[in-house]
């Protein structure tokens, strides 16, 4: 059981999402970095698909009245425990009865994931416990956590082991690998040169639906407004020529030309981009992208 003593900026219950429902107009959603949530779950003895918290930019203050076992992965936040014990990332944390875990602002990156032993026991909606904010369903009543919320945990499946996780090495810096998009030919030379050759800044009006970018105009010939299927990582360019990378909760169809698509291995890296960050795009071929399989986290006993 967890009591929310102070909610963070946007604490969302997330599991691995509800893929396969695009026909209904519902995007896959789920944790922005599924391997990071899965690793946190493994550190507390959960199934990889158990529900945890996705915490963005500024975190919550959480009371564990009965104690518990927790783990944090992803971006480092300023953090403390009422016991005075250190808050290690990527490690099993054993919390005493009545212990308070406090997360403040993020240090680098944007999001972290908190898993608790047993998983967060919110009801499943359309096969998932993930919050879908745009339609207000899933997770904790379809919304982010509020101060005063009480979250219940499921039954733990295995004995407690003290573990440490090691994230896979991923591309560094703000270079995102993309496959040239289905409508790249609708862009003029200046637009293509700008998009593939110059940096873009992440704008404040970014969320799980999409990352809005600002930079050199990715200019294109005015395209017809037809709606076509899209997925997380697709880079759409509206008439203002400023690209938008569609996020995990983005629409399943879009009417703007798609200049590129972030490869699947790099979509989780979008989770750590925050307003003001600079990014660049570099193209690779489809076959090369497919070979960039998700590298699993390694987990070992804490010795």
């Amino acid at each position: 059981m967890i009591e929310v003593l102070r909610a963070g900026l946007c604490d969302l219950v997330m599991d691995l999402g509800r893929p396969g429902r695009g026909t209904l107009g519902v995007p896959a959603g789920g944790a922005a970095d599924p391997p990071a949530l899965a690793a946190a779950n493994r550190l507390v003895g959960n199934d990889a698909a158990a529900a945890g918290l996705e915490i963005t930019l500024a975190g919550p203050r959480l009371l564990f009245p009965l104690g518990g076992v927790a783990a944090l992965t992803g971006a480092r936040f300023a953090a403390s425990r009422s016991s005075g014990a250190p808050v290690a990332w990527n490690e099993t944390l054993v919390l005493a009865v009545g212990e308070v875990l406090t997360l403040e602002g993020v240090e680098t990156g944007c999001r972290c994931w908190l898993a608790v032993r047993g998983g967060l026991a919110v009801p499943q909606v359309m096969g998932s416990r993930s919050t879908f904010l745009p339609s207000a369903f899933g997770g904790q009543g379809g919304r982010s956590l509020r101060t005063g919320d009480v979250l219940h945990c499921g039954a733990a499946a295995s004995e407690v082991r003290l573990l440490r996780a090691f994230p896979p090495l991923r591309g560094e810096g703000g270079c995102l690998r993309v496959v040239a998009g289905p409508q790249a030919s609708q862009f003029d030379d200046a637009g293509l040169t700008a998009f593939f050759g110059s940096p873009y800044r992440v704008e404040a009006a970014s969320d799980r639906r999409g990352l809005r970018l600002a930079g050199a105009p990715a200019s294109h010939h005015r395209a017809e407004l037809t709606s076509q299927g899209v997925l997380a990582g697709a880079v759409q360019v509206p008439p203002d020529a400023q690209p938008i990378i569609l996020g995990w909760d983005g629409p399943v169809t879009g009417g703007y030309p798609v200049i590129a698509g972030v490869i699947a291995a790099d979509v989780p890296r979008l989770a750590q981009l925050k307003p003001g960050d600079a990014i660049r795009f570099v193209t690779i071929e489809v076959e090369a992208a497919r070979a960039q399989a998700a590298v699993p986290w390694t987990i070992e006993e804490l010795g």
Partner: protein, 215 residues
Amino acid sequence: MGKYGRGQSHVHLAWRWVSERGLRVATGDATLAYYASLIAMALPDVEDIIAGDDSLLVILRQGARVPPELRSALTEPLADRVRRPNGKRHEIEVEYGGVAGPDLPALAKRAGLSVAAYVDLHAATAYTVAFLGFQPGFPYLRGLPPALQTSRRASPRQRVAPGSVAIGGCYTGIYPAGGPGGWHIIGRTGAALFDPQRDVPALLMPGDQVRFVPA
């Protein structure tokens, strides 16, 4: 930029990659037929299939190659049995105009019709659900008479009432939930377009037939 993949010599559908997981196939007028055909195959490496205006987006599982069965399905003629998919038929009761449909008078005027004639024409037409998008359960209904087609609002509304029946471009549609919206609102229905707790959350599915009935 943007390669056309042509799998084999007899391929007749062009496809392009949205990312290495997303294969956008130009299915044109046969989009719903291909959709029905591919969904029925239930290929394990296909995570999702999303219909659009004149294309399908086939989303593969990460790392998966184009399954040979999918390649065949996109290169061989459609079987006759899937040429005319059988959708469900729905009658949707609509309160036209007034507070429920604030844009109706202006739209009728632009179309050179009386409000009554505009409503009659909208309600006399049989529509087909082309695809869902924008919001969970939002149907894009094809078949809008040319006289009723109009560009979207110059500035979107900050808030559209749930159940609003709307006109956008060559489509009519229904907003399942509240929120911002850029289409013209001509009426409102009490039908629950989307309920995540239902076994089939969306009331209308691609291929379904819809008629509007004035309340």
